[in-house]
Each structure stands twice: as structure tokens, then as C-alpha cells.
Symmetry: C2
Subunit: 800 residues, 2 copies
């Protein structure tokens, strides 16, 4: 399992000792710190512990023996010992057994947990543990992964031992930067002051002070060349005895304790301070009954938040919670991904932000070209950048309306030009984007909201009782036909074999005839989220209906005055078609575009969220030439006069390029192929995650969530229906008390998933009315997802 | 001067050799590369050059001698030599002369320039220069600045020499990360393969391949212990002779050349590829006559872009251009600021992005608390996060309208509730923010734009003929009084001594009586940019008028039905007052808030742009409790249902915290105090940037731009008026052909500033109608600004 509690305990201070390089005195520092805490003359006494997770070199030379000898009766342990005095990745390979990163981390965690749970301390006693790493910050662990990456999920506070040698200033600062980039907090940089001519200690102290990282000097280690073993022991005993009581060690000890206490205090006050200072998004603050209802995130890693326990915890004060909303549908490559951190830092270092009007830079150009190529829509030729999904849609709407008004010679400032869309759609929180949605709870009390358009009813798709069902809204069987069921989702998408198209065409045409012909209304854009309407409640729209809607609109005459347009496969006809793929695009549903499920080429497509792999805001509105040309003119006012200050910011674009490359690799990788094969197989064949090689068909529509679980959910007595596509799983619960936004069944299940049980993974999820959904990241581990499914099924059984 | 051309030449490849640490073989690699290029059996021949910018240690051991000996007649040079074999910062200090970072960089640049400009090469000959650094990547230069920071403005491509020793994997990767986060491109990581048991070369090759950075192995250096000098020379000659012709060197050489050629090709195609793939913000594409009208930014550093020459250049293909729009008013702490890169990377590493609804994290909480404290407005209690200025304003408008509609029992969905504002104001590009501005060129062709409000005329402030003048709009002397002139800007802000207040009150009241009383119109919010209306054309509003407007609105009765509100100093009265400080706040005008100039506490304030120091998008809408309470209710729909996916993203918040701390330091620093004193002094006293200590009064309203220059501009025959406040300088040009958006005088001056002259700093600027403005960052250097002012004055003399 990937989840693990972050390393923060009330009565145990655990410090990770990293070195700027090998041979800089990590063990001496650990020993001196141990001796110091053993000798500390303050009210709190400390039990001293020392852990060497991975040790290489002769058993007789083990660091833990050394620490035991000098640091006044600490408990010591070495978790993985390899005798070859080389890097752990070489030593482990030669030894013939390579423990995984997870195994190393789990052993360390177990050891710390044991210390934290040891028999109740005497009053006034605490534990302090020094976890000494091997080599430098990024030295490979046994598996070859840099050890700062292996240990990152615990995120123990770091004491970094600087390098006193020539060149050591550089290696110490670089080591600190590598730690900070991985989200570590550095409690202190320790510099052994050898009074050498290099003056590293003095330099580093100044440098790190300026950076806000405490730097401390410790006295240099006695010269031991040529002295006898006995004399060495004597000298070193004296060294530790003296220096563990002196100012350097004392200040460092205080710093470590103060940082720990500050962190505890901060964790315990953050919820109430947040309640006081922060206005949360999409939140009825009256419903926050107490400050502890606000989750406090210490950090996050992979698919898991590290959240603060609100109840008293014997162990870590933090618990891992699966980020089941993929942090509002953004998460792609895992929290705390060092590759994305580095990408962000590189672009910041190369550009900062450079203004984009009339200018260009490599990350923005590369991203534009990449999107145009990979979206695979021959209509699209131009990329417009903004900051989030809502602004991308505002731009899409402005584009679509302008193109239609220009061609049809409508004056948008005088006439009401609406959008065509689907009931339950939602396109963002700015007022223009809101106006493109029908009246609903989100815009009910937005005083400037004016719904401008018409929103179609549509048949939905869900799995129920193990079958995929396409069903019309209640009472609309005459319009859409009665419910139909299918063996697989691929059959739902097999438009050639579907029989509803004609009925859909007739219905759409008759609605349009009424709106346009009879009522004389004007429309400037067809705007849809393809396949799944997210905020509307994870509604899976019958794709054949969406496809038919596009087809009909493109042939329909919205303005009798306009001359026919040559069908050149690229020029829009009928109305410009805008696809809102902010949520559904970029592999969220398992494919690069959601449009590809419909086999339709929109004239404008909007992307955001996953675009940056889940790191920071950036969005694009990608348009066809025939849209672009509507803004071509002699006047500046003919242009699209839209542009936020940070348009095409280099960090966002470069992170997006890095993320998309990585997602492309996943798309071509074995893991996703296995999911596709599992969904292509007959029901019940997937067992133990094993994939039978060879003959199976890969499903065209597939999910990271297992077919078995989805089927089981669909048969559950409390479940009305379930959908699963790509990384999305959404369960509609039956609610005997009446469904919709007041539903409490989903809220209750959500709370149960988060509170967990003794052995359960805790799951942070979001609900939309009576729908509880879970969303994986692109890098979620299969085993994690299967375990989460089990928890979901069990909690569902318990729902009251 | 801070400006310097980036290091890219057509026929000169300049490579910076960095080492992962000291003693890793930088000089051997330089020599081997030199020998390789000298021996290269391809059509292009290379002249070999070697530069050691800073050398420490005995003169006899100088690296350049070594290179000269073995690398086949290269030209070699050492720019700064210190005999003490310690770090340059110690050696220089002991030597008694410490060259500045600028001096080191300038010498290196001059040397490269000399090579690039050397007598025309024979056909088929090029130059290649290896610039070898000292110690590790971040080893201090003579001044103590890490050398990777010193050399960053040139941004030469890097060959990083890995460390083959135990611990060397870690130090090599960390060194690479330190380079990348400073925006360097690493052409190659070179690993000497010593066939040792450590296997560093193999590991590093795999690691960097995965990262997309080429890694190359070179054969290990012969053992030289105990051999005679003569034998050593023989052995090494043989080593270089053999290995410079073998595959390792050859692949590395190819890589260096290919990267150079790719970079040249990329630079030469970027403009046309951008023209093809990108839809630019706020741009009439028809006005882009040729691709070369698009500026190509290779990178940026400090206040300068590195832009590609469009004309043939003998020297570098790049030129520095002062970022005179502060990248659309965002730039605060300089492009490529390593502290901000590190802050971004830390937050990415610790959190990625974590969802914020119902949750909290340290960077967001810290920022909220900091803003509430530092804004210093006792009304404000809650911080709401969004992504940019436009969305911050949408939220501010939603907040204000809701509070008013709730108190006055208006139904915003049925009635037209407008805003009160100022003519020429602009609040963003989303449709809701647009609706809060009067009809203008920006919204003219936005089909859903519906201006909703009333926008007041107002008197403006400008300096003309050396005097600060407050003048009414043409023909409105009856309403506002005739023009008045003042000795200093501080007098304009001295509301107690001003005589216009009563006239302003009468005018505002009469307008409101007409709107509300006679016409029965309803208004829900007073919305203004305090002091300077940015996008409207850098209009400096008479602050007394703005102050009076707030005072009148707060006492006015907008709904006769509402009961009076107790004046508790925190509850809004009349209408909620929203200040749009997106452009004007956070030190842009020299103060933390622009509201402080008015001595007014708005109920809602919006910040963005400078909030992150100019790195990436983030915005806040900060509100009072009496606004917050309007959204308090039993129903979810009573809440503010707004929230973008990346709300309060950790990177933005942490970068903002880092930036605000740094700007606070600047605010308290000597440089800004000197500006304030200079503006407090009588005219003509500032000379040579020297500050007379002691007695001078600090001006309350001051600028980074010099009083002398501003005065001179105000007397210029072509200038109608000028304003300067904080970092903003705006010059309104006389335009005999008729002013406004069609003005060409400003465009012509803008083009002249960018094209520069032989000795001129080139200046990238933006115009708004007949206004050309320049905007400094918070860290702009006084000397740079003074030099830029000189160019501006000279170009103004030349304007045709």
C-alpha cells in the first residue's frame, strides 16, 4: 500500500539527518546531538534513539555501534545492512536482495511507530530519534531511487550536515535546494567549523540565515590520524562530553525543540485560524459547525493528503487520506511530484513570467504546437491562453458568439443571443460562464446571473444490475424511446449499431423549430461538456444524443438570411460548436480528448485542470481558423480583447509540457493496457490483478476502477446506478428521503469513508447531491484503487 | 548597467563548464573537448578558446596553462587570478580587491564578444569557447555570490562534469537541479568512468536520460601518482590524443553542436511558428504584418528580457530589453529570481496542489493572515482566493451586490442592479468584470457585454510645466471648479488644505439624486481603482474626488425602505465599497495599499499581479465581516458558490508569502528611503544619485523615477502631461493628428525605444492611446532607471 502517516508525533521528535555529501560528519552530528539531548539540563528529559535505515560497509564499522558507544545509552538500530562499502543500490544488487522503496519506508515507519507507542513515558520524558541517511541527499537507496524521494512521504524535519571541505559551500547549498524542492522542511544546517582556510561555516551561516533556514556551527572533530583505538575512544568521548554541553549543541537542540513545538502549535491552531481568516470556495460557512470540520493538510504525497487527526491519536498526529476528488479533478501525476517541482523551478528560473502580448517564448509555443497536434482535430489551428476553466470558457463563448453574430449579421449588444446546451451543465464561476448554464443552485443568488440560452433534456447512461442502461428522463419516453440496456459500454458507443439516432434527430429538430422558427430566438453557440457533465452531478450523457445534437445543429439554419457555407470540413456550419473539456479532457476519461468518444471535431475546445498535471492554474481555448477569422479586421476593437496579465505564464506552460509528456508515457504503458484488457474481458475474469497475456480485446471505453467492483456496486441495494470511465467512478445512491441536493445518503457515506476504521484506508471524497464520486490520478496504483474499492463496498454496506 | 546580451552567437559556440564539485575533472573535460574539436574530422573546423573567469591557486598551476599545453593551440585566458588556493570569495578578500559580480560578468562578456567579433573566419571555420567555472555550481564568486547566479544573465549552455567518487551521484544530481532551477539549459552531463566499484557513471547516465538531459561517459584519467613531470606530460598527451578521437568525445561533441544548431533553428522559426499556432491576447492579428513583429524571448533576467534580434547581428543573436511594462504590471522581484524559483519548487514538493474547499494548508493560511494584518484595514476579516484580477473582481462584485440586495431586499435576478464607478475604469476581461465598466473599445464587440452601472466624470492630476495640476474634464468647470496647480504631489494629497471638497460633494449628490431619486435606478456597489485607472490610460484621478465619492456614497440613501445601520466603523453603509487594487496595490504606487492615499477603508479589496512578485497567477478578494454575513444562511445557495479548481494553490500562496516578505524589506530599505527623500527635496537638488543625509523630509507620495526627469518631461514640447507615482511613470503625448486610441505619436515613441541606438538601452514599453508608460519592478536599480530616463528624453526629442 502507498499510504503512510506523515512523521509527526506529540512526544517523539524524529529528525532526519542528511549530509551534503558523504564523509561530512553525519554520524558525528547524530552522536553529538544524541549526547546533547541525553545531557540536556532542562525540565524535559529525552530518551535517545538512533536509526540507520540503510547501512553499507563492514558490519563491524556500523554507524549505530559508534553512536551507541558515545551517545549515552541510546537505543540504536540498523534496518538494512549491506557489507559492501559502496552505494546502497550497488551493494543491495550485489548482495542479491533489493528491498523496495516501500519496504524500506515501511520498516522505518514501523520502527518510529514502535518508539512512539512504547510503554507510557514517565512524566516529563519524551523521545527523540535521529534517522541517519546514507551518503548525500540524493544518494540512491537500495532500489536506486534517490533516498530523499524514498523518505519523502514521512517528511521528517531535516538536519542537514554541511560540507566543510573545499567545494563544500556549493554542495551544501545544492543539497539544501534538492531537499526544499522535495518539500522537506530543514530545521537546521549544521556546519562543522574546522577553522580551516575555507571558511565554509561562516559563509553557510550567513547564506542560510538570509534564506530563513537556521545554520549552526559545531566544533571540529579531533584529529585521529595515527592514534590508537583506545586513545581515539578517549579523545572522542571527551569531544562528545564537552561539546554536547556547549553553546553550539545547545542552540541546535533548542532549535530542534522549538521547531517541533511550533509545528505542533501550528497544527493545533490552523483550523480555528482558518475559520477566522479564510472565506472558503463553494462553502456555506454556517454549515461549518466547528473549526475541526476544516481539514488541516500538513502536506501531500502521491495520491494521499497528510491530514491532521482531529481526535486524540496515540501514534502520528497525521493520517493519510486518499485524495478522492483528485483535488477538485485536477490531480494527474501525484502530489509532491519532484519532476513537476523541477519543471516549475526551471521555467521560473529561465523566465519568471514574461508578457505574452506581441511576444512568444518556448514553453508557450511548444505547448500550443503540442496541443494542436495531439488533440487530433484538423479544424483546430490556434491556441489562446488563460488561467482557469472558467476564463477558458468565457473566451470560448466570446469566440463562438462573435463568429455567429458576424456571419449572421446580428448585433449582440442589442439582441439576446443565447447558447444551446444541456440541462445540468456547468461551465465555471465567472458570470459569463454562469450565464451559459441554466438556472440552478450555483447561480440562484448571483445577482447579475442571466441564463442566456436553451438547455436540452437528454438520455443518460449508467450501469445498474450489472447492465449498462441508456434511459430517457422521466416522462420523456415518447421523445427519446424507452430505456435500453447493453452488455458493455463499448456497445453504447457503437453508434452504427444503435437504433435511437433517428428519434433523437426528430426530437432535436422539433425543439429547434419551436425555438428558432416559432419563437424567433437566436443562438450563437452550441456548448457542451462531452460525455460526462461534472458539476451537474457526474451525469453520463448518452453519447449518441450528443453526437446527434452536433450533427443536427451543424445542418440547421439558424439565420435564414445567411448564405450557405461551403462544407470544407473546417469551416463551422450552423453554430460554432464549443466543447468544454476542462474536466473531461486530457485522459481524465481515459482518452486524450472526450470528443474522440463522439467522433466529432468541435470548432473550439477548452482545457484546464489536468493540463498542468495537477499543479497550478493554466487553461487553453483552442479554436479553428474559421473562428479566428471572425476577429480579423482593421480595427483593434474587432480583435479578441481578452488577456489576463499572466497569460501563458512560463511556469504553467512548461509544467504542462512536462505533464503531457508523462501522461503520454502512461497512455502507452503496460498499466493502462492492462485496465483496457480487463474491461474488454468477459465479466468475472479479472482475478488478483493478473493479466492473461495475448488474446483479449482491449476495451475502447475502460476505467482504472475494476469492472468487478463497478458491477458489484451496480447490484448493491443502496445504489441506483454507477458509472466508471477512465479515472472517474460515480455512484448514485438511492435516497428514500428524496433525492437531489438535499440528499444525505451521499454525505453520510462521504463522512464514513473519511473517518475510516482501524484497518481502513481513509478516503477523502466529494459529493454532488446524491452522487458520491471517486477520481484517481493518472499515476494511481492499481493496488491502492482495489483496496479503496473494498473500503467503499464495505462502507456502503454499513450506510445507515 | 545591469543589461547584457544573452550568450548566443551564430558562429561561436560558448559552453560553460560547471562541476558537480571541486576536483571532478572540469579542466580535463575542457581540455579533452578542446582537443576533440581541434581534431574533429568534419566539414566545419573550429578555433578553440578557453576562458577561466576566476582562478585561485598558484599562478604556475593555472588551468589555462594546462589547457594550452594539451588542447592543440587554443587561445586561453584567465580573467581574475588569485593566488590563494581557497574559494574565490576568501581569496579575493585576502588579496584586497574584490571585483563585483557585474565586473566579472562584464569581463567575461567582453572576452566572448571579442572572440565573436574577431576577424572574419575562413569559410567553414567556427569558434568554440569553453568557459570553466571554479569549484562547484554554487561555489561563491569573488563577491560571495554563488557563481551560477553571477553568470546567469549570459545563460550559456552548460556541460556539467559529474562526480565519480563515492557520494558523487547525489552531488551531481543536486548540482544539476541547482542549475535547472536557475533556468540554465544543460547540454550534457559528463561522467568520467573510472570503472570503479561505485558505478556512478552508469547510474547518472540512466538518471539523466530519463530527465531528458544527455549524459555521456568519458574514459578515466590515467593514474599519475609517483610519475615524473615529463612522464606525466607524455601520458596525458597520449590520453588526450587518443580519447579526443574516440566515441565518447565524439558523441559529446555532436551533442554540443546539435544543441547549438537546434537552438539557432528554434530561435529563427519561433516567430513564424507562433504566428501560426498562437492566438495572442489583446491583439488584432491583422496588425501583425510579418512574423518578425512578434518578439521572441529566449529568457529573461532581472528587469530585462533577452529578445532575439530580428536584424542581422554581428554579435550575440540576443539583446536585452528593459521590461518597461513590468510584464503587464506584474513584475516585482525581477525575472529569474532564484529565491522565487525555490519557493515555487518547495510548495510544489510539499503539496503539489491540494483542494481547498473545507480544507486548509499553511501557505494559504499564512498569506490570508498576513494580508489581513498588513493591509491595515480594520474592516477586512476574510480572504477569498481566486486566480487573477478579473476573477477577483467578479467575486468582489458578487459580494457587494449580494450584500446590498440582501439588505435592501432587492431581487437581483429581476431588477437591474448596477455599480457606481468612474469613467475609463476597467476591471478585467471576464464578462461580469466587463459589465462593471462603461462601454469602451474593450467591450464594444463582446456580444454578451451589458454595461450595468453609472460611471462618474472626475478631475484628473498630472504634472505639466513643472507643476502638479488638478483639472476638470473639458467643459465641467462649473461642476468641479477650474484647474488648480500645486507645488508638490503631497499637496494634492493634503485633503485638509484642499478647497474642492464641497463642490465635489454637491456634484456627486446631485448626480445621485438624479439617478436614484428621479430615474429610480438601483445600485449595489461602488467600485473603483484607487488613484490610477490603469487600462483606461493611466488616468490619475484627483484623490480628493475619490475620497469624497466614498464619503457621499456611504451616507447616501440608496433604498428608502431600509432601516438605518449603526455606524460601527465596520459595517458598510450606503453601498459596499469595492477597491480594485489589482494594479495599484502592493507597492506598485509606493505603498502597500492605494487606499491609504485616500485614508479610506473599503469593504472589499482585490489584489493580484504583484501579489506573487511577478511569477504566476493568484488573486485575493478580501472582505469585511458585514459582507461575509450576507452569505451566511441555512441554504447552500445562500453561500458564495464560487471556487476555481486551483483555489489557493500552494505554489501561488507560498510564492506570495516569499514575495511580500521581500517587498517589505525593500519598503524598509535605504534605496526607497532615498527616493522618498529626493521627492521631498526642493526641485533641482538631486544630483548624481547622492543623498544628503539627515534633514530632508521624506515625501509621502514619491516615485522611483527621478523628480528631475519627471519635471523635464512635463516641460517637454511634445508632452501634454506626465505622472509618476511609485514605480509608474506615464507620459501623455500631444498628438496634433487628434488624440485617443488612434494616436500614433505614442506608438512611434514606443518603436523608437525598442529599436534603440548604438549605445542605448533598448526599452520594451506599452502604450494606451496617446499615453506611453514605463513601470519599474520593485528591485529595479537606480542607475538603470536613470539611464532609461535619459534614453526616453532623447528619443522624445527625436520623435517625428
Amino acid at each position: 500500500m502507498s499510504e503512510l502517516s506523515g512523521g509527526l508525533w506529540r512526544n517523539l521528535i524524529a529528525i532526519q539527518i542528511y549530509g551534503a555529501n558523504t564523509g561530512v560528519g553525519k554520524t558525528v552530528a547524530s552522536t553529538l546531538l544524541g549526547a546533547h539531548f541525553a545531557n540536556r539540563k532542562k525540565s524535559t528529559k529525552y530518551n535517545i534513539h538512533y536509526i540507520k535505515p540503510v547501512s553499507t560497509g563492514p558490519n563491524s564499522d556500523r554507524d549505530d555501534n559508534y553512536v551507541k558507544l558515545y551517545a549515552r545509552q541510546p537505543t540504536v538500530s540498523t534496518l538494512f545492512q549491506f557489507d559492501d562499502p559502496v552505494s546502497p543500490h550497488v551493494a543491495a544488487r550485489r548482495f542479491g536482495h533489493v528491498p523496495t522503496d516501500g519496504a524500506v519506508l515501511a520498516r522505518l515507519n514501523a520502527e518510529l511507530d514502535k518508539i512512539a507507542h512504547a510503554t507510557p513515558k514517565q512524566q516529563g520524558f519524551k523521545d527523540i530519534t535521529f534517522v541517519e541517511t546514507a551518503g548525500g541527499v540524493l544518494s540512491p537507496g537500495p532500489s536506486g531511487t534517490p533516498q530523499a524521494d524514498i523518505y519523502r512521504p514521512l517528511r521528517l524535519p531535516v538536519v542537514l550536515i554541511g560540507d566543510h571541505r573545499l567545494g563544500g559551500i556549493a554542495s551544501t547549498i545544492s543539497a539544501a535546494e534538492s531537499l526544499l524542492m522535495r518539500g522537506y522542511d530543514i530545521d537546521a544546517v549544521v556546519c562543522f567549523n574546522d577553522d580551516s582556510t575555507f571558511e565554509n561555516a561562516q559563509y553557510l551561516q550567513q547564506y542560510f540565515d538570509k534564506l530563513g533556514v537556521g545554520a549552526f556551527q559545531l566544533p571540529w572533530i579531533p584529529k585521529l590520524e595515527g592514534v590508537s583505538r583506545e586513545e581515539e575512544t578517549h579523545k572522542m568521548k571527551q569531544y562528545y562530553d564537552t561539546n554536547s554541553r556547549q553553546e553550539g549543541a545547545s542552540l541546535l537542540g533548542d532549535r530542534i525543540i522549538n521547531r517541533h513545538m511550533d509545528r505542533l502549535k501550528n497544527m493545533s491552531t490552523m483550523a480555528s485560524r482558518t475559520q477566522s481568516a479564510v472565506w472558503h470556495p463553494f462553502t456555506q460557512h454556517k454549515h461549518i459547525e466547528k473549526a475541526d470540520d476544516i481539514l488541516v493538510f500538513d502536506s501531500a504525497y502521491g495520491d494521499f493528503f497528510q491530514a491532521k487527526h482531529t481526535a486524540k491519536s496515540d501514534g502520528s498526529l497525521l493520517y493519510p487520506a486518499f485524495d478522492g476528488s483528485a483535488s477538485w479533478w485536477t490531480q494527474g501525476l501525484g502530489h509532491g511530484n519532484p519532476q513537476l517541482s523541477l519543471a516549475a523551478a526551471y521555467a521560473a528560473g529561465r523566465y519568471g513570467h514574461v508578457m505574452f502580448a506581441g511576444a512568444t517564448h518556448e514553453p508557450a509555443l511548444t505547448l500550443a504546437e503540442r496541443l494542436l497536434k495531439d488533440i487530433g482535430n484538423p479544424r483546430l489551428t490556434k491556441v489562446f491562453y488563460t488561467d482557469n476553466g472558467s476564463t477558458a470558457l468565457e473566451v470560448g463563448i466570446k469566440m463562438g458568439l462573435r463568429a455567429a453574430c458576424k456571419r449572421y449579421d446580428w448585433d449582440g449588444s442589442q439582441e439576446n443571443i443565447g447558447v444551446l446546451g444541456l440541462k445540468g451543465s456547468y461551465h465555471g464561476d465567472t458570470i459569463g460562464a454562469m450565464d451559459a448554464s441554466e438556472p440552478c443552485v450555483y447561480n440562484k443568488k448571483v445577482d447579475w446571473y442571466r441564463g442566456r440560452g436553451y438547455w436540452f433534456d437528454f438520455p443518460t447512461v449508467k450501469m445498474t444490475q450489472g447492465r449498462w442502461v441508456v434511459e430517457p428522463p422521466a416522462g420523456m419516453e415518447n421523445d427519446f424511446g424507452s430505456a435500453q440496456s447493453f452488455d458493455s459500454l463499448d456497445e453504447v458507443f457503437d453508434f452504427q449499431s444503435r437504433t435511437s439516432r433517428q428519434k433523437y434527430e426528430q426530437y432535436i429538430t422539433s425543439v429547434l423549430d419551436d425555438l428558432v422558427g416559432t419563437q424567433g430566438r437566436k443562438f450563437g453557440t452550441l456548448l457542451m461538456e462531452p460525455i460526462i457533465l461534472g458539476a451537474g452531478g457526474m451525469l453520463f450523457v448518452d453519447p449518441l444524443f450528443q453526437r446527434t445534437l452536433v450533427d443536427v445543429v451543424r445542418k440547421y439554419t439558424f439565420s435564414p438570411t445567411s448564405s450557405p457555407i461551403p462544407e470544407d470540413q473546417a469551416t463551422w456550419t450552423g453554430l460554432p460548436v464549443v466543447f468544454d473539456e476542462v474536466f473531461t479532457g486530457l485522459y481524465r476519461l481515459g482518452r486524450y480528448t472526450a470528443a474522440s468518444f463522439l467522433d466529432v471535431h468541435p470548432d473550439i475546445t477548452c482545457n484546464a485542470k489536468l493540463l498542468t498535471g495537477g499543479l497550478l492554474p493554466l487553461s487553453v481555448t483552442v479554436a479553428s481558423s474559421s473562428i479566428f477569422e471572425a476577429f480579423w479586421g482593421d480595427e483593434k476593437s474587432d480583435a479578441l480583447l481578452h488577456g489576463h496579465s499572466y497569460t501563458a505564464h512560463a511556469i504553467g506552460c512548461h509544467v504542462a509540457n512536462t505533464s503531457l509528456s508523462e501522461m503520454d508515457n502512461l497512455h502507452r504503458g503496460a498499466e493502462w493496457r492492462a485496465y483496457k484488457e480487463a474491461w474488454g474481458r468477459e465479466a468475472g475474469v479479472e482475478r488478483d490483478g493478473r493479466v492473461n497475456s495475448g488474446s483479449e480485446r482491449e476495451a475502447a471505453s475502460w476505467s482504472m476502477w475494476s469492472k468487478d467492483t463497478v458491477t458489484e456496486l451496480s447490484n448493491h441495494a443502496r445504489v441506483e446506478g454507477v458509472i466508471a470511465l477512465g479515472s472517474v467512478l460515480a455512484v448514485t445512491l438511492k435516497d428514500l428521503a428524496g433525492s437531489g441536493y438535499t440528499s444525505t445518503a451521499a454525505l453520510s457515506l462521504r463522512d464514513d469513508l473519511l473517518s475510516g476504521g482501524d484497518e481502513d484506508i481513509r478516503i477523502h471524497s466529494r459529493v454532488l447531491g446524491n452522487v458520491l464520486y471517486l477520481m484517481a490520478s493518472m499515476t494511481s496504483k492499481r493496488d491502492d484503487l482495489r483496496a479503496i474499492e473494498k473500503v467503499l463496498l464495505r462502507k456502503l454496506d454499513e450506510v445507515s
